[in-house]
Symmetry: C2
Subunit: 375 residues, 2 copies
């Protein structure tokens, strides 16, 4: 388990790196498709492999609720249960408790809530989150944090960040105490930098976590409704205080231009439901920007979704995919999900190649020029 910084772009902070995990090596920058229930929505693991996905994300909150830890434990973890044998990152459940659960009450101990499925009262603590992720057996586990809302005043943001730091220490303590017992000593642990829109709080959070020495660092509390420039500022305020020799992960982001912007700020890893969620609503990414496949203009369109489409999708015309979408055929959600992930993963591969060739800025500018030309 290690991260190697292979190259840094000469004109930006973009980094080309390599992260070795128990289930495989990840070339960064990388986008991680989200597999909330154990697999990327609508797709078969064979297809996720065909896409060249190097790592997928699983959701601790959802998997703990359904199928439940006893089931996953029987299969030796999420890899065995889902049959996906490449790397998996699990989140801590903190964000879902914040965004999905009801009657949430945060205390020093943890978060009490009613779950979104049957309303049953539950409690997540730092220790319980680490325990669940240990059973899931993910390659990368995220520390349990408190995600402040946007907007949020400096007092709340400060207290929230202090709580997140104390919880990070409890996560670490649990891991140290239980790692040999859990039989899962190879899991990496990433801390999550909070601090809302406040530069000094982002700096403080980063430094406190770095002092505890984790395997990687995430920037959290973004994609919570803030304007795009605040999202970028949160990244800019955190990254200078993170060690160069550890991977950096911006959570829950973003659009293709946003990903390139953050790569230029030195971020290595991303995850987002965006490409698969919008796919199920008929939106396809192309080099000329997103298109809504149900639009009348594609009724007779013989072209594939994009000139860079994978053959698995490129065999179909926009006309046929539009027909499937209008007919409510599930194949349309599959094809658009596959296509959008191929677009995002291809963007990462192109970014990696551009960094290696020390022409990241040129690549980014050319991509953005065409992407925005028609809008």
């Amino acid at each position: 388990m290690s991260f190697t910084l292979l190259k840094t772009d000469s004109k930006t902070k973009a980094r080309r790196g390599r992260l070795v995990t128990p289930h495989g090596t990840i070339e960064t920058p990388i986008f991680m498709p989200v597999g909330t229930q154990g697999m990327v929505k609508t797709l078969h693991p064979e297809e996720v492999e065909l896409l060249g996905a190097q790592i997928i994300l699983g959701n601790t909150y959802h998997l703990n609720l359904r199928p439940g830890l006893d089931v996953i434990e029987k299969f030796g973890g999420l890899h065995g249960f889902s049959t996906w044998d490449k790397p998996i990152l699990t989140d801590s459940g903190g964000f879902q408790v914040w965004s999905l659960a009801k009657l949430r009450k945060i205390t020093e101990e943890g978060v009490r809530f009613s779950n979104h499925i049957d309303g049953a009262k539950m409690m997540f603590t730092p220790e319980f989150s680490m325990q669940i992720q240990s059973v899931l057996g993910s390659d990368i586990a995220m520390l349990f944090d408190e995600c402040p809302p946007y907007p949020c005043d400096e007092k709340y943001a400060t207290e929230s960040l202090e709580l997140t730091t104390r919880w990070a220490q409890r996560c670490k303590d649990w891991v140290v105490a239980n790692e040999p017992k859990s039989g899962n000593g190879k899991q990496m642990h990433f801390g999550i930098v909070q601090g809302s829109i406040y530069a000094d709080l982002r700096e403080r959070s980063a430094k406190e976590l770095v002092a505890m020495d984790f395997d990687g660092y995430a920037i959290g509390g973004v994609s919570v409704g803030e304007p795009e420039h605040e999202m970028f500022r949160a990244i800019e305020n955190a990254t200078p205080h993170l060690p160069a020799d550890k991977p950096r992960y911006a959570m829950g982001l973003g659009t293709p231009p946003q990903l390139l912007e953050m790569i230029g700020q030195g971020v290595d890893m991303f995850d987002c439901v965006l490409p698969t969620r919008v796919a199920r609503h008929g939106l396809a990414y192309t080099l000329d920007g997103p298109i809504h496949i149900k639009n009348k203009q594609f009724e007779f369109d013989e072209r594939p979704l994009c000139e860079t489409s994978h053959p698995h999708v490129a065999r179909f015309s926009r006309s046929f995919i539009r027909h499937l979408f209008r007919s409510k055929e599930l194949l349309s959600a599959r094809l658009l999900s596959f296509h959008n992930l191929h677009f995002f993963l291809g963007l990462m591969a192109d970014a990696r190649a551009a960094i290696e060739a020390d022409r990241f800025t040129e690549f980014k500018d050319a991509f953005n020029a065409r992407y925005h030309a028609k809008s």
Copy 2:
């Protein structure tokens, strides 16, 4: 375009045949997966090929409504539009007008109705059905018939059958007049034997159609709510009056034991939404009968759905597929659809091998004994 009767079972009427169509050769007996909107629901054509499907069915009524003939014409037909390049059979639209459309009014000319999508008034005639199917460019087109309900008295059944015969002649006349013009001279045309539960009417219908000399014959007006023994009687009453050197097709049927029963009665071709429709509701076929994957008993079940599952599905435990189904993940509908079609197509392959080895009865009895043992 030809049908060759390769072998007839010595103890039953089961037949092993070969049907050559413009888009490929079909080994019979065969089950045809239904692709209502141009492709089998939830599946990618690559998967339908992986399943070894030799021919799929497209629905004239649906495809005429959406995307419309002008779209499909632009792609040179349904093969070009859907990218499925193996044989396609299209129904006449008659059954869907009967089962889906509203305010249906049958006249000598054809059927007036309001379609089920936007309620627009439309009319299907024998000539229009043949014209649509000519544009679709299917390998096998079905004649436009009137499907009497069950139960139905002998007077209605007689008048309906006479109408079906007159419509069959009009279909034939349209084909003769338009075949050179349509540029689609290689389409086969199958007549549909009607006559409800009346043996003498089934005989009369078969003889009248055979006198017109079509490329194959279907038994229609089954699977309309009649008891199983009436379904089998309709087959038994029709098949003796059909020529041995033409393929026989039982429309819209059936369960695995029903398919074997009808193969034993000399039927060569089947289609049914059953395996894919029940898949979307969580039912999987196994050699020990159907199972409901959402049942609690499969919560920890590490076994694949069936010992004969295809590797594409067999990699997953019943436990994981149950989890996907309970989590409303579309992948569950995909996996069960694929599995059930693999089961049906495998049953046909086994039946073909059994007929070749002249042990069809033994095969059928062994299959049924195990299939029903647990129920």
